[in-house]
Symmetry: C2
Subunit: 352 residues, 2 copies
């Protein structure tokens, strides 16, 4: 396993904590800040502290865990802390956590004094295979995911497999959904490999393969003018289901659980509109349905879900835009879907 070179920054897989500490020591930073939540502060920070040794010229910024906290209020809290500690333009922010930490920490750093350096140390499977790579930063407003953000690349990403070993099974499966997506959109061989693997804790090579796929796509199209839209498969419906669940459910869906639903719905749309074979749809439903619990998608919510989809930033001119599949391993971009089609796909999921 090697380092992957992304758009002007490296993604480390081996000895990544030592590489992080080297990066900090060689970076000539005036000081650095570690952004954590209570989980990563307890479970992941000690390994970094041990490697840092006496070199402790840093401050901790802690936010509460959970997507519902990826909002402007906590972002303002991060900005105020940077101000209070007199962070200058030669400061570094180390985002130690899952997607909430990397998205929000990246946004806060990319706008503080018009941009200071940041690196990601993703601690969940989801953030390792998805959020930490590609230079998207973001926060939610009115529970609309990542509606505010920037395209700004981190200076490096440090992926540590050991962090995954203490994660709950549900958190692992949240990341697996994005890995399945990577197979479905561009790599049938990877999909086959995933099908044959134990996905309760994907091994390091599967993670590396997934990062390689995502990285290849984002390097080709960093600001999502074209091929990067491939990564949106499952996300038009999935984001709406996730947003609705965040607002209404006492125990909301994880990102991956919502994307799993979105991928089934959008595979159904692919079967109806873009030539995905019936057997392939069945296979996708069987694999994804076998991994994730069935979610009770109430018919009474379909209109609300369509309204949420319309606010999605992927849309233009009031039309809802989907990435669909031609076959397993081959996606096709920019398919306008009507409310009726989207509702039918939701009903398909509900009927399973």
């Amino acid at each position: 396993m090697k380092t992957i070179q992304s758009d002007n920054y490296p993604i480390f897989f081996e000895n990544s904590i030592a590489e992080l500490v080297n990066f900090i020591k060689n970076g000539n930073y005036s000081r650095f800040f570690i952004l954590t939540d209570e989980n990563t502060g307890a479970h992941c920070l000690p390994a970094i502290k041990a490697e840092l040794g006496d070199d402790d010229n840093y401050d901790l910024i802690e936010i509460p865990a959970g997507e519902e906290n990826k909002d402007i209020d906590y972002c303002i809290g991060i900005w105020r802390t940077l101000i209070d500690f007199a962070a200058d333009r030669k400061s570094l922010v180390v985002n130690l956590g899952g997607g909430v930490i990397s998205d929000m920490g990246g946004f806060a750093a990319s706008t503080y004094k018009r941009g200071i350096d940041f690196v990601h140390v993703p601690t969940t499977l989801l953030s390792q295979v998805d959020a930490s790579v590609g230079g998207k930063t973001g926060i939610d407003i009115n529970s609309i995911k990542n509606i505010i953000g920037t395209f700004t690349q981190p200076k490096a990403v440090f992926i540590n497999y050991n962090f995954l070993k203490t994660l709950p099974a549900r958190q692992i499966l949240s990341g697996t959904a994005e890995m399945l997506k990577h197979g479905l959109i561009v790599d049938a061989a990877y999909w086959e490999r995933l099908k044959a693997s134990d996905l309760s804790l994907p091994d390091e090579e599967l993670i590396y393969w997934s990062v390689e796929i995502k990285n290849k796509v984002v390097v080709e199209d960093p600001t999502e003018k074209g091929i990067r839209k491939a990564l949106n498969f499952g996300h038009t419906v999935g984001h709406a289901v996730e947003t609705n669940s965040l607002i209404n459910d006492s125990d909301p869906l994880t990102h991956g659980e919502a994307i799993a639903i979105g991928m089934i719905c959008e595979a159904y749309l692919s079967y109806k509109k873009t030539g995905l074979k019936k057997e392939e749809l069945d296979e996708i439903v069987a694999v994804i349905g076998g991994l994730y619990p069935k979610y009770p998608l109430a018919t009474a919510n379909f209109v609300t879900l369509c309204e949420i989809m319309l606010k999605d930033k992927k849309n233009q001119n009031g039309k809802i835009n989907c990435t669909l599949l031609e076959s397993i391993g081959k996606c096709t971009l920019d398919h306008i879907c009507t409310d009726a089609e989207l509702c039918e796909s939701l009903a398909f999921y509900a009927s399973l």
Copy 2:
């Protein structure tokens, strides 16, 4: 007078309202938003409405006038309005106003859905010769000016001389300060020309000249790694005086009034540290002192002012960094000034 070409965008001086309407009509935008304050809504919007005619597929977003409103709360209000009106990635924001409108509207647009297009229609002298050119966006937090922002270029700038004719004299003079700065830092001939002009309402050619100077500097160094720091002359002390006045004065200093004080203080530091001649210092004091009312800079505030300067984003490693002058028309970058030197310069101003 011609169009100036900046970093991938044009700055129009002639027929600029007609050019704006052409730009909108030819831009293939799904819709557009005009950001105004109550002043520009009343005095400047009608000219645009008249030129638009029946082409009124836009929404107005109005914020209250004044630097104290360039804060995150109003920015969130802009974001929420864009969400409520379902603004998509092919939407355009037209910033019709002074620096508050262009800085905040630019920031809101550059981060909404990770960036939508925006243009500036600066309506004050200050924003015409300064804020609208150069791609800096920003908002204040804790009254610290532009502490949060991005480097994002507008798609075009439309400068309309007629908008200046209804401005109060104090607002005109706020812009004149930046024009004087342009002469002091790089162009002695321009300084001489300004000295010989009626600065109660500078003519169009002087404005054009000033924009040309600023544009040349920012195109060479868009993200302020080097020569762009020239534009900070007067702003290390000036920003601190302005921030302090915003917090404490019932009728706060305008930006230009604060920068006028800053230029006198930093001209004094230039005389002490970087070879500015005594006659040149006297000349600067006479010209600037002749234009702006004397501000009562209380000795008891000097420590506070130094503390504010330390939080300025121009600084690194806890040292206060100034752009100074070697002579009129020639600046010199990156001079560390101690608290004692800065206090002495404040005392110099107070003693005038």
